[in-house]
Amino acid sequence: MDERQVGSLTFRLDLSQPLYEQILKQMRSAIAKGEIALGEKIPSVREMAHALKVNPNTVSHAYQELERDGLTETRRGQGTFITTSRERVQQFRRELAERLLADFVAQMQSLGYTWDEIEHCLHTKKKEAAVHGRNGGAL
């Protein structure tokens, strides 16, 4: 696992997983978390390829997908920018949360937990977190 810094962004690339997906996922989450500001310019494909030491085609593929998500905009002759629409980023963040939640519920149910039990688990977890501090505490 290699950690690589590109401007304010940190990427962790694992050569045993598809690189395109890792770059896309980490860019999406940086945008959703607000690590890159609205309207901010992102590195060019070439700069990103150099910084990550990956094929420019891989970066370009990830950038196309971000644009399809509506998270970035390309301005001709100027480069690629994060969308200026706060609403779009918030909606994307909700979609990400929705997906995480659906995965969590599906996995709990596959272990045989009922909705009431899942709710109970979450309450217990919340109390533990309050006792152990803001990071949710050690397991």
């Binding site: 050569l15 045993s16 598809p18 690189l19 030491k53 094929n55 420019p56």
Partner: protein, 232 residues
């Protein structure tokens, strides 16, 4: 579908009893970086020599940008052979001047930039150089050319980590430029595998697996683990 850079159909090459290529089928699309991988003797260097017309197939068909390999297709190819050496009495500057005269598409400006980047003294003579320095000269003669096909046979052998990173940076630039196909054979996968769009695995003169590297990663993990699985 885009243009095809290299096409091989049932290509065979024998050296005595040894079948260097044994019914090789391969299609390499233009504009991609391709890792040509496999153990020693699997046919990588023979394939490269055949693409550059140095070796003719005993049977089968090979095409480079739609033509049979020859002097015409070679103008479009920069080839770094395995164990390449340069004239020992030349300085780096002389080597570059030679290249400017004889190698189509050679850019002196790029070569000088790369030499500075790789810390090669221009007045240094090849005979006084370390293996790593000479390897860097050979590599620059290759990648400073603006040609559609670059073939690098074991470009990292004898080259230290710092120089490798510089070579990789130079390659990323070449690929960013646009339509350029790069074939690389290497045993030093770690630094370079993130550069491959496609990988081709050879064994005993045949392709045993090929595909998009991200697809292969999904199946095997890194190209290094793919090698370990495929050549067990």
């Amino acid at each position: 579908m885009g243009e095809t850079a290299v096409l091989c159909e049932q290509v065979e090459k024998r050296y005595g009893a040894n079948r260097a290529l044994d019914g090789l089928d391969l299609t390499i699309p233009a504009g991609r970086v391709v890792g040509v991988l496999g153990p020693n003797g699997s046919g990588k260097s023979t394939l490269f020599r055949m693409i550059t017309g140095l070796v003719r197939p005993d049977a089968g068909r090979i095409r480079v940008f739609g033509e049979a390999p020859g002097w015409r297709t070679n103008r479009d190819i920069a080839y770094l052979p395995d164990r390449a050496r340069w004239y020992s009495d030349h300085t780096v500057q002389q080597a570059f001047r030679w290249a400017e005269t004889f190698l189509p598409g050679f850019s002196l400006e790029e070569a000088l930039g790369l030499a500075e980047f790789m810390k090669l003294p221009l007045d240094g003579r090849v005979r006084d150089m370390s293996r790593g320095q000479e390897a860097r000269v050979m590599l620059i003669l290759c990648i400073a050319r603006r040609v559609p096909l670059i073939i690098l046979d074991e470009p990292f052998t004898g080259i230290d980590t710092v120089s490798r990173e510089k070579i990789i940076d130079a390659l990323i630039d070449r690929v960013s430029d646009g339509e350029r196909t790069v074939l690389i054979s290497t045993h030093e996968l770690y630094e370079v595998e993130a550069l491959f769009d496609l990988a081709v695995f050879l064994e005993s003169g045949r392709v045993i697996r090929s595909g998009d590297t991200d697809e292969l990663r999904r199946q095997f993990g890194s190209m290094h683990s793919a090698m370990q699985t495929l050549y067990r």
